[in-house]
């Protein structure tokens, strides 16, 4: 029984299909990273899994059953803006949420996750606010945990602490679905689902998503001239330190651009990054 089973789901708004024939599963204990450009359909998909939007076609089953109000209790959701009351303390937030879900107190999970005192949530560091939001969303012991940009804005160490909490839940058997724009964070997931234009464009490990794609990299003292020449040719160009990268797999074409501009350079194919792959999949 998969915690999440999305089969052939489409959601239209008027004539526009925000999600178009998407199938996605999340297993117990698995962390799935949902990535894609804005407008790719990630938010619409998450809203349907949460039961806030109905699919126009296809079916969604949670824990082997059709979606229902009772099942919502088995989901913990942390939205990007955290969903906390900033003018209440952490304890008050946990207590309020515990009452809504009808669970006993919040102390157990709360004290384990948050040692942030009794100040108002609005006065805490962003990292502590995020920890508090995790505590609030998991104190009813959900079997499915859905997170939207879970570590945005926090320091690297605070980010690693948050991922420790996420991974602990997964090791306890919770299914985790994480939406993120941060590609290095996406690599924390066991499996990536890449959405583009409402559909699943790629799926698997980081290496499987990149799928051997390559990028042309130019090394030259005249990197600024090289950048200008390649940009002038209309190719998609970026900078990594003093090296110029071009979203192309043709060394010959890029070399020709540079020759025309009279620029001597080393031009070679290198492995594409996940970011570059995302951009390729989106156009």
């Amino acid at each position: 029984m998969n915690p999440v089973e999305v089969v052939g789901v489409t959601r239209t708004f008027g004539s526009f299909a925000a999600v178009d024939d998407v199938s996605v599963s999340v297993w117990a204990g698995e962390v799935v990273g949902l990535v894609g450009a804005n407008g790719a359909g990630k938010t619409t998909l998450i809203k349907m899994v949460l039961g806030l939007l109905k699919p126009s076609a296809g079916r969604i089953r949670l824990f082997g059953q059709a979606q229902s109000r009772a099942q919502r209790r088995r989901i913990g959701y942390v939205p990007q803006n955290l969903g906390l009351y900033t003018d209440l303390t952490v304890a008050e937030n946990l207590e309020f949420r515990a009452e809504v879900f009808g669970v006993e107190g919040g102390e157990d999970t709360g004290s384990e996750l948050v040692s942030v005192g009794d100040g108002l949530v609005g006065a805490l560091s962003l990292g502590d606010q995020r920890r508090a939001a995790f505590a609030a969303a998991t104190q009813h012991h959900p079997d499915l945990f859905i997170l939207d940009e879970p570590t945005s804005g926090v320091s690297p160490l605070a980010r690693s602490d948050l991922w420790d909490l996420i991974r602990q839940r997964a090791e306890e058997g919770v299914a985790v679905l994480v939406s993120t724009h941060y590609m290095e964070e996406a690599e924390q997931a066991d499996r990536l689902v890449v959405m583009a234009d409402g559909a699943v464009a790629a799926e698997g490990s980081t290496a499987e998503v990149i799928d051997g794609r390559r990028t042309v990299e130019i090394t030259t003292d005249r990197w600024a001239d090289a950048f200008a020449a390649i940009e002038h040719s209309g190719r998609r160009v970026s900078l990594a330190g003093r090296r110029v990268r071009v979203l192309s797999e043709s060394v010959a074409a890029v070399s020709a651009d540079l020759e025309r501009a009279g620029i001597a350079a080393e031009v070679k194919l290198v492995a594409a990054t996940l970011d570059e792959t995302m951009v390729t999949l989106n156009r």
């Binding site: 804005n38 160490l157 605070a158 200008a228 970026s238 989106n282």
Partner: protein
């Protein structure tokens, strides 16, 4: 011209927002300022944009009208069209023959076809890109960008960076604060801030190379307080292991700037305890 700040201090009441910060800013280069919330990134960038925060220290910066600054939110007039926003900047800086450059910058940012669009009605990514274009229009010597890519999707981010890289290729010095360390890895230099102090600085490679001890990749860490997750596996820092000149590559995968930043934060945590 190389710009620089050193021994920079900013206090907000009793709170030391920046403490002995030093940074050298080269033309035709992208400098990334990294760190979490409350690290002092925005404060440093405001100083670089010549805003008066009561700062002290040695400060050598271009005059304020030669600095392009994009704050962490806003930077555009939401009720004006894209073209009107550009006209406003051109007017304020008394620019002449600016339209070809405006067209080039808008094209670099994939905003070429949105001239008549009310800017407040565009997507978040398009608004951030427009703010970047407006800051770059007067061809500033120094461009200061405060988390312009935070929350943007990968495609908008790439377009914004293409715009910024273009300005660097044209000779501008760029300082960009970001919490995305994969972005910082593509900069010429990075400055890691934490509680107003510089924990590490230099090229991304040198910051990674300057981690003391060694970092290993393992299935189960022997010391959880010195370890962090990488998917199902762990990375662990061994402070007293290996020699500094041996490098610190792991058995499984390269050490990233994110790994290095975690270690420098761990070191700071131990120091301040």
């Amino acid at each position: 011209m190389t710009w620089a700040v050193s021994d920079l201090r900013v206090n907000f009441g009793a709170n030391q927002a920046l403490d002995e910060v030093a940074m050298s800013i080269e033309p035709a280069s992208v400098h990334a300022v990294i760190g979490g919330d409350g690290a002092g990134k925005s404060t440093l960038l405001k100083v670089l944009a010549s805003l008066n925060l009561g700062q002290s220290g040695t400060i050598r910066l271009p005059s304020q009208n030669r600095v392009g600054y994009v704050p962490s939110s806003g930077g555009i007039f939401a009720d004006l069209t894209v073209t009107e926003n550009m006209e406003f900047v051109a007017d304020a800086h008394r620019l002449r023959d600016w339209r070809p450059r405006a067209d080039l910058l808008l094209a670099r940012a994939a905003l070429g076809q949105f001239g008549d669009r009310i800017s407040g009605r565009m997507s978040g990514g398009q608004r951030r890109k427009l703010a970047g274009v407006m800051a770059l229009l007067p061809q500033p010597d120094l461009v200061v960008l405060d988390e312009v890519t935070t929350g943007l999707d990968p495609v908008s981010r790439m377009e914004l960076w293409r715009l910024v890289a273009g300005a660097a290729a044209d000779g501008a010095a760029i300082v960009a604060a970001t919490t995305y360390l994969d972005e910082a890895e593509r900069a010429s230099s990075v400055l890691l801030l934490h509680n107003g102090r510089v924990l590490a600085s230099g090229s991304p490679e040198s910051v990674v190379g300057s981690v003391p001890g060694s970092i290993t990749d393992c299935a189960t860490p022997s010391n959880r307080s010195l370890a962090w997750r990488r998917g199902r596996r762990w990375r662990q820092w061994h402070p007293d292991d290996g020699r500094a000149d041996e490098g610190n590559s792991t058995g499984g995968g390269d050490i990233t700037l994110e790994d290095a930043a975690i270690v420098f934060e761990l070191i700071e945590e131990r120091r301040s305890r």
